[in-house]
Symmetry: C2
Subunit: 359 residues, 2 copies
DNA sequence: GGCACGGGTGTGATCGCTAACAGCGAGAGC
DNA sequence: GCTCTCGCTGTTAGCGATCACACCCGTGCC
């Protein structure tokens, strides 16, 4: 806009354009190699029907001119952008950030580009806006890292045939494919571990009530207690932050009957550990604590945290694999698939038998 | 490549295509609104010379057809992709992830799309590959979140005129613009704080020696000790991880003369805190610890960590602002700018006067 | 010799959009 | 009354790639 480019037709000085500010294009390469632009295209796309000698000549010319193919032109004609979209929320947290990384890494290896659209909140409008932006970019598929119904519902508003995957959450009734870990099973692992140690019951510091992941963890915890005939203590609403863990932890620390706490993520556990420490209750001697996620830091908490491991990078990779399989056969209206990964319990020093039952 | 798309041409049934699988284009909107495609384009681009009535008619048609402009076509002709590239490394850590978020957020508000290229390692080849991928995408500028010389040098290999910004690190001799915090000043703040409390000297757990950020922090620490006439203890090589902090911390914990430790980031401090705890040295009563970054979790460490605050989101925003100003005037060969933000010391409970000088 | 075949290559049309220019009425100025 | 401007709109020509098709030429076969 600033300076009008000189009319391109203009002066054909016959051979070598003096200085082409915009890089070279296929025709330039073709001219230098003494072939047609179509042959250059064939070399670029690895068509078999090009003589080896010609191919080399073209490759040399491309190198000499530092040629880079214009993806916009390619996209325009092929209608394939080779670009995938990611919708993310709170991508500063370890989990989402790791999934983003896993996705991007897998996409690159599959020859795709990735554009991200983070949403500032989980309002419907933000999600639709993000979807719209990605569609404008002609993405060939969308992965949403934002495990709330608002988001997965928003995904339904994509043009028909655009494959979508919700990772980390999402309910299986969705029109989208989903990839997630089995949160209920993870919560069961954690709770059962504490019961097995001899704790009469297990308290729970939950995540936000409107997150399916948080609800599933509550559910797994509750099921396990119920199955064991243990009392089911009340659950207070919270966020995913250490601050919340601290607040809830402070409350629980005042109750001497509390000997075991299962936290819905590691941050909550961190806050709970501090609250317990300040209340003078020793972990794990007096109170056992279990987290969820197995963030790298959790191995260095005081004490090192027993926690449910979630392989975020793997989640990212799997979601991308699912998306690509969806791109592969768009016409085939097979129902969206749902991948559920099994979590594992990582045992560390924050859990032990209750005081009365120590060896 | 997997499955050949069916030939696009297909059946032209004369007038209204029965089901247009590929969404509507400008001509469809034009036909429905009874205008030319150029008028539609004018409405889309807010040209002034369109009658209000016509504009509304076009907007109605666009809504009715759920029209979305094809960005590839627009990019092809305008040579502006409205897309920015981000090169990231270890984007699972809080710092990089936050910067990424800050950049994406600012880009969106400025009307740009963002594509990310994470690099699996800091090898030169990876960086060049990432740059190449982004250039193919016709990005209008690149922000690199990867504060090592390998990366910033790789940025020099962009086509002339493509603005680049290195955020979080990078030396000022660069051809790229840079945005970073004043690491030396941050280290001085931390060290001086400990000296002011009365500690005879301050030990340092440093980051990787080949990261400029880590080196600058060492430098600030050393300067401050030197200016105060304090002894400068040796520094051992490390990584940025809690594990490293634990290892270094264990070593320092054995030396009873150690009363103050400045860690190059919060993860290192977390590891050090655990090592000190296990060695039976109380923080802050016997040993004071200061971190760097002020990650959200650090307020909930045991004890809550005194640390140097780094506003990652702001770094991201500033780097984007710098990039956009670079895009604004590409012809003007002004030297790249360098923005340096001042860090702040966040006082918490991990620092206190040494045992002998307690009130 | 004539003809089908197929590898290797060139030609034209096209994707959806914007830039440049042309056209066309209506009101202003002489 | 005639030009001149100006607001509004349509027409045409690309952007840089790919696709469909035509073409050439050597080979193998009848």
């Amino acid at each position: 806009m600033t300076a009008d480019p000189p009319p391109t037709g203009g002066i054909e000085t016959g051979d070598a354009a003096p200085v082409r500010p915009r890089g070279s294009v296929m025709r330039d390469v073709a001219r230098l190699a003494g072939v047609s632009h179509q042959t250059v295209s064939r070399v670029l796309n690895n068509h078999p029907n090009v003589r080896q000698e010609t191919r080399l000549r073209v490759l040399d010319a491309m190198r000499a001119l530092n040629y880079r193919r214009n993806l916009a032109a390619r996209t325009l004609v092929t209608r394939r952008s080779r670009t995938l979209g990611i919708i993310g929320f709170e991508t500063t947290l370890f989990g989402p950030a790791s999934m983003l990384y896993g996705i991007e890494d897998a996409a690159r290896q599959a020859g795709y580009f990735v554009t991200v659209a983070t949403i500032p909140d989980l309002e419907r409008a933000s999600v639709l806006d993000a979807v719209d932006r990605l569609c404008q970019q002609s993405v060939e598929g969308i992965v949403a890292i934002a495990p709330k119904p608002t988001v997965t519902n928003g995904l339904h508003h994509t043009p028909a045939g655009l494959p979508t995957v919700a990772v980390g959450g999402g309910t299986e009734t969705d029109a989208s494919a989903t990839v997630r870990i089995d949160n209920t099973a993870g919560a069961r692992l954690a709770t059962q571990h504490l019961l097995d140690l001899g704790h009469p019951t297990v308290h729970h510091i939950a995540g936000p009530a409107d997150w399916p992941e948080a609800r599933e963890r509550v559910e797994g915890w509750r099921q396990t207690l119920y199955a064991a005939g243990a009392a089911v203590p009340p659950v207070a609403p919270a966020t995913w932050t250490a601050r919340s863990g601290y607040e809830q932890g402070s409350r629980l620390a005042r109750d001497p009957a509390v000997t075991a706490i299962f936290c819905a993520n590691d941050q909550l556990a961190l806050g709970a550990l501090r609250a317990l420490h300040e209340a003078g209750r020793r972990v794990p001697e007096q109170v056992s604590v279990v987290g969820f996620d197995d963030t790298p830091d959790s191995a260095y908490y005081l004490p090192p945290l027993t926690t449910v491991r979630q392989d975020f990078a793997e989640l990212g990779r799997r979601s991308l694999a699912l998306l690509l399989s969806g791109i592969g056969r768009q016409r085939d209206p097979r129902p969206p698939q749902h991948v559920v990964l099994a979590p594992e319990l990582t045992l560390r020093a924050s859990t032990a038998p209750p005081a009365g039952r120590r060896a």
